[in-house]
Symmetry: D2
Subunit: 430 residues, 4 copies
């Protein structure tokens, strides 16, 4: 269990410089006192003691650490694509330049690679005209790549460039890399703030109940499921089989199932299932086909790995375990089983992952990215470091990077979201 002291966020030093936002805001109440907290737990049983742990609430501080006119910020985007990265870049840029008036914002090219001058392309100075329209497009205009760099090399580079703040947009691997950078900064006694904005389309980072890009991904996935439903219902015994993102967590598969309302079986990593046998997926699918003549199946890419595993584990450059491909495997199994039980079947397989992740952020994610980015700037300008901006009970909070230990957030199958999936699909617990 996380202790209160683990929830405290490091700072670079005392804040003595009046925020330039004071000139713009009529109301003092828009500043957030530094001792404002958000309770870690809001749910409790009547009569039980209230859990007093809390997280630091983000927001603009009246006094800040960095002097804007002398401050240089850098932005780096890492890992796989996710709707909203360009929004984050644009919002960071405008908040830094137009609101705080910082001197310079540079864009690191192609992920952490761009922080190693021996390997990557040189950074670019961001300008109004470069970022003006980028939120209408998916992807990242800065480019991305996978994998870490040596923190010593990185901090050398940041110091040589005169960077005061580094914003790291990426998943848990990226934020572990950011933590290593922050540690190297501390070791040197340098004054560089390292502030993360968590990016995971799978929504599997702890201390963020929802990450940007997730709702857009669900919306895009819903459209694909709708098409799979059309394929399935336009022939006899049609099966629409949709593989969705979700390496270790089934959030997209579950949420897209709920949003769609047309799915009959949802398979996620957190709910292992059997293929054959009385409670097995294949006989249940065959039963459904006999009853209703069609079915829609959604499978998260990390589901059912137990049926595929061959004892060997491989990892990609981001340190994510490589998965065998459950989609074609399941397609083959369905076809083989139906052949076996003499049930003619037509399986239409959809693998829309790149299509989904390269979408631009929808309005809900535009709102979320704006909030996270603006608060990341407030945190960094106030000298907060070695942290990311999390979302907690609908409040933005400061989360120490040290808490990001590599364990992923997973869908709890005894909570509401999975109950919704069971209610809607009619499938039983496996």
């Amino acid at each position: 269990m996380v202790t209160q002291s683990q929830l405290l966020v490091p700072t670079l030093g005392p804040c003595t410089i009046p925020s330039p936002l004071a000139n713009r805001h009529a109301s003092k109440r828009r500043f957030m006192a530094d001792d404002t907290r958000v309770l870690f737990e809001v749910e409790y049983r009547a009569g039980a003691p209230i859990d007093e742990r809390s997280l630091e609430k983000s927001g603009p501080r009246e006094k800040i650490f960095f002097e804007p006119a002398k401050t240089k910020a850098a932005i780096v985007t890492c890992g796989g694509l996710c709707p909203g990265i360009n929004n984050v870049i644009r919002n960071l840029y405008y908040t830094l330049k137009a609101n705080y008036g910082v001197q310079s914002v540079i864009g690191i090219r192609n992920g952490y690679e761009g922080l190693n001058p021996a390997q990557g392309e040189a950074p670019c100075e961001l300008t109004d005209s470069m970022v003006e329209h980028i939120h209408h497009r998916g992807g990242t205009v800065l480019g991305t790549s996978r994998g870490p760099q040596d923190p010593v090399v990185t901090v050398n580079f940041l110091e040589s460039m005169g960077v005061d703040i580094l914003f790291t947009i990426g998943g848990d691997g990226t934020q572990r890399g950011a933590h290593a950078i922050a540690a190297e900064v501390t070791r040197r006694g340098a004054k560089i703030a390292v502030v993360g904005i968590p990016k995971t389309i799978d929504n599997d980072i702890k201390f963020c109940y929802q990450t940007f890009g997730f709702l857009t991904a669900v919306a895009e996935a819903e459209k694909v499921i709708d098409r799979a439903h059309i394929e399935a219902t336009s022939m006899e015994n049609g099966v629409g089989l949709v593989k969705l993102m979700g390496r270790e967590a089934g959030f997209i598969a579950a949420a897209a199932t709920i949003a769609s309302g047309e799915v009959n079986f949802t398979l996620i990593p957190e709910a292992p299932f059997e293929l054959a046998g009385p409670r097995g997926f294949l006989p249940k699918l065959a039963h459904r086909l006999r009853e209703r003549k069609h079915a829609v199946v959604v499978v998260a890419e990390g589901a059912g790995q137990e049926h595929l595993a061959d004892g060997q584990e491989e990892y990609d450059a981001s340190g994510n375990r490589k998965l065998d491909d459950i989609g074609p495997f399941l397609k083959g199994k369905i076809e083989a089983y139906c052949r076996e039980v003499s049930l003619p079947v037509g399986v239409k397989y959809f693998d829309p992952s790149y299509f989904i992740r390269s979408a631009h952020a929808d309005a809900a994610d535009s709102l979320l990215t704006e909030q996270l980015s603006r608060h990341a700037v407030h945190a960094a300008m106030a000298g907060k470091t070695d942290m990311f901006v999390g979302l907690w009970h609908n409040h933005t909070v400061h989360v120490p990077l040290a808490l990001n230990t590599g364990e992923k957030k997973r869908l709890e199958t005894d909570r509401d979201m999975w109950a919704a999936v069971l209610a809607i699909t009619g499938q039983e617990d496996w």
Copy 2:
């Protein structure tokens, strides 16, 4: 200030019937103990005492009040259109029928009118094939209307039809009507649960930090603003003027501004503004045109009424004050002012309200409607009454209808959302 006792929810009586969900759910943890609470306040200053007020958390109870096989539920939809109403109808229906196995679900036609046999159309029995595809369409398949009915007539009718549960989908007027019905039920000692699902595209109902349809409305509004931006930038001194919903609260205008990132002036009811004078809107707009040759202005329908009011107040059938039309008024004022200061200008006016409110729910709202509807059924089956399902710190909770006293939730201009609008538009506090 709301007291703890005001936060308690009435019930029809003790729950003695085992929930049929027990057969479907492997895990007991999916049931929610009746004494689970959600803190009213989660934000506090370090050192200050924690506010212990709390709301009742919603969710399936292990024991329920109504015997499903003998239960008849009715659904009524009232007031203006809002994305997601059909999702609510569909989700209520499936949860009641497929999950709880209730005997019958009827649809009341055309709002409260349909609860008065002297005035309205007879209800219809809902079936699978009727509701199967309705979530893909906006509007309400049951029809809607404005205005209340005599609670005595209504309860007579409900009793004559053998209705055990009435779900009321509507705004604060509708929920006040529901409260009156619940009071009449209590007066008679009848056992009819009255459970609301708040519907307000303006997002202005208290105790729901976000209502369904709101995000869809923002997404649609963002598209309109984008078009207004195109009109404004395709000519010299073009002004795209967009009127959005928001009679007493500027949430849609503010959120669409943030999501869009292209708006220069956002006018909402909560932030009164001057037209002329050094801090006035018109000179500032003219200044912007001279500097940048185009501008995008978003105005909530309830904004600037102080400039229009003529002393007379009229009200519509729902009890909402009729507003003068700020859109054409502002268009005229802009044109007149620019003529006066010899600035050629082209104002393109957009009034997309009906277009926006008749959209179908996007994925985010599909998720929200599913959650609210399912929890409304859980509440009703457990005999909760005179309440609606609210959303609080991202938890669904039971909110007593008695708390809905007619005061609307308004955008607090000294909190984060308005700060975001000021940051993005660059406009100052008026």
Copy 3:
């Protein structure tokens, strides 16, 4: 009736320069011989003589008039917005630069205004990075305005800038202006090609059976009609009333009606109608409401002007007659009539014109704009002038500007499109 000699297109002189396309194209057959023609009429009655009139077919010529490396082209966009203008700009640019290798392409700012140095902004040199992404956005990046300029001033300016080719993107007013410019060029014996690409969202230019932007407008209008249908069916006696573009021609209203399949009454300028009386629109609408409880009405902006006219005619800067607003007029008439016959009614009025015209081109219009633009460049490089690129029996052709005499193409109510509207709406001929 048009004579064959009127169908001949002027040229600046003999083509003696080998086309640079020869290096790129393996096949000679991709060049179009200059004497290739497209028949004016393809429909005939068996036995009748075939009409031998024909238009000049467009396409790349093996020999061209202008020497690319010394050629400077200018692009001007005039009149109201229409989906696809940016595509035309982009395609003209790339065909000129990347395919022909011309020296320079400049963009005239804000319509013909930009051809008058005393009045408009200076032109800008177009570059790859300026036009790269513009086809994803509606509007025109060059800006637009209404109204002509003195051809003498214009040609002075073109000569002073060293412009060899002027592409005029605009409606019939713009093309009449282009014709005047071409006449002034001829008078001076200058060698400037003037080539138009017709732009009219209303699809009302003769010799183009379909103009770019029209299909996108129909697609956008269909969405609006769908929302109007939802409003109409979500209440008792709901009427969705949609005003669409179409000043003198009802093509958008008719096509959107057909595409939608949900419209009950379509009112266009070409089919005058009565309001009252046995064949009148209002009694028929009331009849429909009594039978079916809802109705969708589409009205072109130029329809029913006979009911509004007050004897005074006004014209805008493009020379288009100003219309009274049929939309609100019709809304008022419907409400008044229903009050009179004691039929409660709710009219929801949609006026989406700016929303529609500022959309970006859909795929069909992207194809059309690419074809028209490329062929406009082929024509201009071959020294064709005083012409626009038309679409005739699905072939692109050269149309002399002299044929554009101000008479608009109108929907023929005794041909197929109006038959389709009658078939779908079930409305009778008025």
Copy 4:
């Protein structure tokens, strides 16, 4: 070369019954005289003789063959999905019932299978409420399947059901089946009209310059290409590889390339290419990556089969040759080649075929399906048979099924569409 006599359409007999449309149409001119023709060729070289071959123009005839009140029509949908099938069903139904007043319209289930009572499901009687909303959804509500049935069995079944008209919606295989049915009808001297509406998403049926569903497919494909472009540009040396439909004809690949404007290489069956060597695709791609750091490649499914073929040919139930999968093959080749030349590369592969074909018809295709369906009904009611409704120089015409000999329409690489692809991609002829 097709002779004039081959262009003549069979009829069941003389038309003696006055069309019921006469009552609805004020204008006689809306009827089409039976001897109205559309020229086969409209393009000619000045001075050359005009080709006098012609096709029969479709449209409502004043006298018809079938007595509506006694007429029963059947609709069958065959082969793969294509946007617009439901529109065709809906439009056939409404034209038959609402305009002509035929007695009954039945839907054959699951393709030709449903015309064999020993094998398929029984037909269903179509009603207003069944077809009302189906045009908003992709797929086919009647179901589909591949493969023919014995024409003797089929005609036995049609006679037993009392069917007078059979509408066959399908590709060239389906229309060959329809031709066999018509032959069997003729052999018996039965009076059953067989009228086809060509359906091929690949746009590869002769005598139809554009088939329904094609433009929708191009629009959906354009969106996928846009996402592939985003993936390609969000990393160093990214390649977006998109496989599109097009077994024997590259129309979708070519048109999507033109509409998108972002493709660098387009591979289609009609333009064979080399992989290696100085003019090979792989070295050219590597060159592009070195110059521009990203590339987008579109490949039609039937392209490059020469690189895959293993001497064995297999066919599916519709008689289409089974293709090896060029997509993964090409991905592998690109990765191997880049490894060989030490060029780091990231290939993102998109295979959106099912997603595209299950879309609903966009507005352009809604217009086309309406036109084709209405004219198919006019033809059938006038006793035309053994024909399909084609689109020729933008006119709907009657095309004898006997002309559909199995040869597909292919993209002519020396004509305009391929010239456009070369112009836009900058690729040379291979």
